[in-house]
Symmetry: C2
Amino acid sequence: MSQSRPYHHGDLRAALLASAERTLRERGTAALSLRELARDIGVSHAAPGRHFKDKQALLDALALSGFERLNQALASANLPDTALEPRMAALARAYVTFSVDNPELLELMYSRKHDPDIGTELAASAELSLDSFVRLVADAQQRGEIVQGDPEGITLVAAAGIHGLAALATNGTLRPDAVLAGLDQHIHLILHGLKPR
Amino acid sequence: MSQSRPYHHGDLRAALLASAERTLRERGTAALSLRELARDIGVSHAAPGRHFKDKQALLDALALSGFERLNQALASANLPDTALEPRMAALARAYVTFSVDNPELLELMYSRKHDPDIGTELAASAELSLDSFVRLVADAQQRGEIVQGDPEGITLVAAAGIHGLAALATNGTLRPDAVLAGLDQHIHLILHGLKPR
DNA sequence: ACATCATTGTTGTCGACGTCTACATTGGCG
DNA sequence: CGCCAATGTAGACGTCGACAACAATGATGT
């Protein structure tokens, strides 16, 4: 009976990450337990320790993979030869869509837990997310489509606006579908301002 | 010896909240333990259970008190008879200042853990935070200082922009002092838009 | 081919935690 | 003054993360 599985799993690390992400999506960060993951996969309770020095290391890895996928989504949504407004709207849609599709993951990605400098790799990937926006603003400035002046500050207005929107859509303050429905108008307002012209 | 404290603490609930907030500020949400709180205060490990049905209930209470203080700060910063831009800047400064002063609390307040409908009281207080912005936009529309159209969407642009900024300043992505230093310029860009006029 | 050895998984243990139940003390209300 | 709800205590249970000692495996070099 007990069809003895091979002593070595083969790719336990990947299995742990996959199972962890499933649990994260279905029951939230708090419900994540290394022992439960081990049980689900069918290894001993200490096996995860071989691949992640502690629980935080697994959370860091999850966050990192989240940023990688987010960056990929943003890169795919980047349309270099498009006018400013639709280009920014596409970027924003990619960001918000990823967020509402992975709310718990987003919270983990931006959680304060990583800081203890281990997150250099993670921080780099997070910075990379802003890159799409930086390039967008740089291009637009060159074309005169956007106000001149400190590119960082300008990028930040767009990025913070979109991140804030995603955060509110993700934490229950706003209805995700409503946010997505109003996205184009939202971008329009960011670009044209709230004051009458 | 063992100077026997009175059997009843007097106001254990308040003491728990105070101690919890201190721990939250100093060592983060993860470091919060009911048993440790009880130890610090000098009561038995089960005493907190009399005031908070479980750990989540204490976190909810902390979040609620956070929203109450945030709302108070926003109300104080509301200057009804001021022009749009400085008025919005003051509101934003209050929001961001509260956030960088209470980063862990802010994360807790907007965490996804509350949702299970218990948070009606909490949700109400969260909505109240937006009220200052809603009124600001309504006033400004009346005075023609702000673009006409769906007030909700317009309010959202301002609120999401500021919340996003606070979130980024809070989670380590941005330096808090840099955010505060650039706040007025940031608000200016939100109001005037990124496109050249 | 085969001995070696780092890698990966297991078992057992520890202390801490959240929660529950049964019990003790207290203070307020009739 | 006696009763009772509110508040605090003591003990127990199951789970968890982490650690250490041990076992199985498979790659490497000769």
